[in-house]
Symmetry: C2
Subunit: 239 residues, 2 copies
């Protein structure tokens, strides 16, 4: 079985301008790992139509699943839905089912379904809605592209909604050995262990803590027996 792959596209200026630290990438990476889907690429682009169209078309051609976050709100700088429609060359307009969701929420909360909010019912032709249990305004899936909100609580709810429906795989498991030696001392024996355990991936992550150099060795595999064997070899060398 081929392992399904994924890419994530974050849309908006929030991270690029240094204003905030990302939260959604970290959340999605963890959830995809549990679902057995290999996250191969993350991208962040600004609220720029050409940038979004270019990235979406590149990523959807190369990976099984593409998840986007951000730019589907009610304001003038929210251009994700229109850009996704442009990327697919399809039309876009206010859709009755999306409008009905917005209308029901407005009535329930006593808020106004104004022109700005109604923009959030603009959905590209042929898309399937993604339920938003937090604030109503839906995301949508078009082809292999799943378009979600950027607000972390809503993004997480939409991921929880969509992920069980995606083709998944056998989850990658991992074990980490923390070694109190600099990477340069570990690298030689590590390469030998990696060479005789080709069925696992072994990553090496150097760190500096209180002025001391250390290395985290992380074994990853979909095969638990292979994982344990390789981990035991690491412990024998470095433990």
């Amino acid at each position: 079985m081929t392992t399904p792959t994924a890419a994530m596209l974050v849309i908006g200026d929030e991270i690029l301008s240094g204003r905030t630290r990302d939260a959604n990438m970290y959340h999605l990476a963890g959830m995809l790992t549990k679902a057995g889907i290999d996250l191969k690429e993350l991208r962040v682009v600004s609220d720029d139509r050409d940038a979004i169209v270019g990235a979406v078309n590149d990523l959807r051609a190369r990976f099984t699943h593409v998840i986007t976050s951000g730019g589907i709100g009610p304001t003038h700088d929210d251009i994700t839905a229109d850009s996704i429609a442009a990327a697919f060359g399809t039309g876009i307009g206010i859709r009755d089912d999306a409008r009905a969701i917005m209308q029901a929420r407005a009535e329930r909360t006593g808020s106004e379904l104004n022109a700005a909010r109604l923009r959030m019912a603009r959905i590209p032709d042929g898309a399937t809605l993604i339920h938003n249990p937090i604030s109503g305004a839906p995301g949508f899936s078009l082809g292999n592209v799943h378009v979600m909100a950027g607000v972390p609580a809503i993004f997480q709810a939409m991921v929880a909604e969509v992920l069980p429906k995606l083709d998944g795989g056998v989850p990658v498991e991992s074990r980490t050995l923390r070694v109190p030696s600099p990477e340069g001392m570990v690298a030689g024996p590590l390469a030998e262990i990696a060479a005789i355990h080709p069925d696992v991936s072994i990553g090496s992550y150097p760190f500096i803590e209180d002025g001391m150099y250390g290395t985290n060795l992380v074994v990853r595999s979909r095969d638990r027996a292979a994982l344990e064997t390789a981990f035991a070899a690491l412990q024998a060398s470095f433990g």
Copy 2:
């Protein structure tokens, strides 16, 4: 004057696997903003030669500056330097000046300049070294691509070394107004203010806090007078 642009490429499985939260992107985004360089795109790819070559060649053609982090250590999965050489179609080998730096450090710290560490002296032909005041092993610049370590302390030191040498611009300044209203109530008047202040960019960032919806409105501009005028208009509407 054209505003210089930048992209950042993070290389490695650490973020993609959900193991760690990024720190270097956040640091670089803030530093570039201060330097007046527009960060237009962030990408994260795994330690995969084709993925690195493809991303580097795409980004260096589209942006003034490209900064990479990660994958220049001594272990078997550190393939950034070789991949950069492949992207530029140049040779790569152990370089005398880089070896001398590694040798001097080994003597100073009483450590061994073993084969693994010597790999960190492999530098693509024609590159300029980037000084590493923390652990010795240099980064390098080749064309408009600046290749730095992934360990945050070293990455930050290399950014501090390189950034003053890059073409910069007038820094973008920003002011933020925190509004205790959901984005859907703010969007209409906000679009009008944005339309009559085309010389600033106005971003809108919704949040949910203790179950209440609010919106941060961020005005950005290189023109301080225009920034203050637009910010005053926001305060008059929403303050």
